[in-house]
Homo-oligomer: 315 residues x 2
DNA sequence: CTCATTTATACTCAAAGTGAGCATAAGTGA
DNA sequence: TCACTTATGCTCACTTTGAGTATAAATGAG
């Protein structure tokens, strides 16, 4: 008989306001953060998506809307703590399928063991809205440098991933960056997975973002990267915005997700060329200055012809 | 005890020359075409990729180079013929993970039950190099029309997928098109899966491309779509070309993959702005007219900075 | 040997798109 | 009423794109 196999489903459920991108985070018995997840039971579930919707509902009271498959992880060089397998047979091998879900509102989930968390808590080096975080130059770069030693290839990977040495910062490479930190033993999970709790001489792991259970932070990184990429060629932001919004609100939401400031005028110009949004004539109650016009997403546009993304002109 | 789960791995191995994109196709006991595939045995394999490489080697003698995960299918509304599960326990549920592999040469695989096949045999409506295939207007459109009946949504999906009624043809939507044909009961697999061999009144299924075992044609469609998309923003074509090539050869290879003619001058101009290739000074032995300069892919370029794709200016 | 044919490569020009600055409009609160 | 804030409009130089025209270097038929 072969080793038993279990398929786990993991959901990264994302919401956003103009300030912060949020992920729906659950907590295990020890209070460690993780993603909503569960086993796929082929007897009870006809499709992955249905299974996913069902127990995301159960675990968080949450009704999923837009859903998309991310990636299937099957390589457990990094061992899973037995505890996370829960009802799986002992020695079972877990294959985890990650999903991304988007939702326009942060519904109240306080009744459940779940919270909405700023995703930058887990990836503090990813937010470049106020310039490149000093964390990168002060902590990450030196730590990776010492890990790389003289290895040409490691140095190259590190510079490419973190936009060092004149390389551009590419926001959708979230996963590469996290994996690098994991490989270098800097992510909290790496220390845990080695199960040898070596007295870390360097900076405390949480400097490198809050760790999550199992490989959930990897899945979250995948989700962020995918969303950041997709926002540019599919109108997915509108799955995250309320029905009506001002252009500034839209822009700031995109900026929050990308972790990158955008050029205001060019954002607007490209946006109305795209005909993705439509002004409603109504003005919004001012948030300080001149009132802004309210817009809505023209869902019709998308169905006819090429579905375009929102423009992202660098500032 | 829950229903047993099996994870299957499927490989779409692609090669191309200037004329034809090929997929590596195996044949089952009945001679039906399929993809190289096998079970993932967690005891014997540490990672999906290793497992994949191992028995692609076994089944086809083929050494995989570039590999990328495509999608994981778990929804079996469409039932699998028991025969394809082979050594799986009866009633097992199969989860299949698709992979895409690229290779620059069609190595000799005649010793194995495998052949290189023009992928357009399975998707004859996908090749637009010599204009839109008449098959679409003559056969597909009417068949889908009658399937849609009056349903607004179906009509819309059909027009969008196949670029009818003034909509543009979007080459990377290969999967959507195949799924539509499947749903409409026009793909051979749909007839088979219903297991009620209803006497098809309409055109014979093979007009809609050669069927494959299990859901392999779906996986192949996914691969084609993904490759077509990726070619535009990552230099993946060069995984398919020989070490040196002329610009025309490169262009024709890209055209073969996209199923779309490109504008020659603009292709060249954009290509040398991208600095992806480098002239070698040497000329190629002419294929008719003036000899062309030989080029090679500058792998170095890719490692530094943003990895760009090959330009694809429509002709 | 020359000329039509084939393919490669070079140049040009208008139209559209981008990056980035400057100017004006319409609110709020001291 | 005036400083401040945010929204929105306009302009300009520069790059990129679509698409046409011209020239160069081989082949092969007569």
């Amino acid at each position: 008989m072969t080793t038993p196999l279990a398929v786990g489903l993991n959901a990264v459920i994302v919401a956003a306001d103009t300030e912060t991108p949020y992920a729906l985070i659950t907590q295990n018995a020890h209070g460690s953060p993780g993603l909503p997840h569960g086993r796929f039971d082929p007897a009870g579930h006809r499709t992955f998506e249905r299974a996913l919707r069902e127990w995301v509902q159960e675990q968080t009271g949450f009704e999923l809307g837009y859903v998309e498959q991310l990636y299937t992880f099957g390589d457990y060089g990094r061992e899973l703590p037995q505890a996370d397998l829960e009802d799986a047979p002992p020695n079972a091998r877990l294959v985890s399928v990650g999903y991304l879900g988007l939702t326009p509102e942060r519904t109240d989930i306080s009744a459940f063991r779940a919270v909405w968390r700023d995703w930058y808590r887990f990836f503090p080096w990813e937010d470049h809205r106020k310039g490149r975080p000093t964390l990168i130059a002060d902590t990450i770069a030196p730590a990776l440098e010492s890990w790389a030693g003289g290895d040409e290839q490691r140095i190259d990977r590190m510079r490419l991933a973190f936009g060092l040495h004149g390389r551009p910062w590419i926001e959708e490479n979230t996963l590469e960056r996290y994996e690098l930190l994991y490989e270098a033993g800097l992510a909290g999970e790496a220390v845990r997975d080695r199960s040898a709790p070596e007295s870390a001489a360097g900076p405390s792991p949480s400097v490198f973002g809050e760790p999550m259970i199992s490989d959930h932070r990897r899945i979250l990184a995948t989700a962020i990267g995918r969303l950041r990429g997709k926002i540019k060629y599919r109108p997915v932001v509108f799955e995250l915005t309320p029905e009506t919004f001002t252009l500034s609100e839209l822009q700031r939401t995109v900026e929050a997700l990308l972790g990158q400031p955008l050029h205001k005028q060019n954002f607007r110009r490209a946006l109305d060329r795209s005909a993705l949004v439509e002004g409603l004539g109504r003005q919004s109650t001012a948030t300080g200055g001149r009132p802004a016009e309210l817009f809505r997403f023209r869902r019709e546009t998308v169905r006819r012809g090429i579905a375009l993304g929102v423009p992202t002109p660098r500032a």
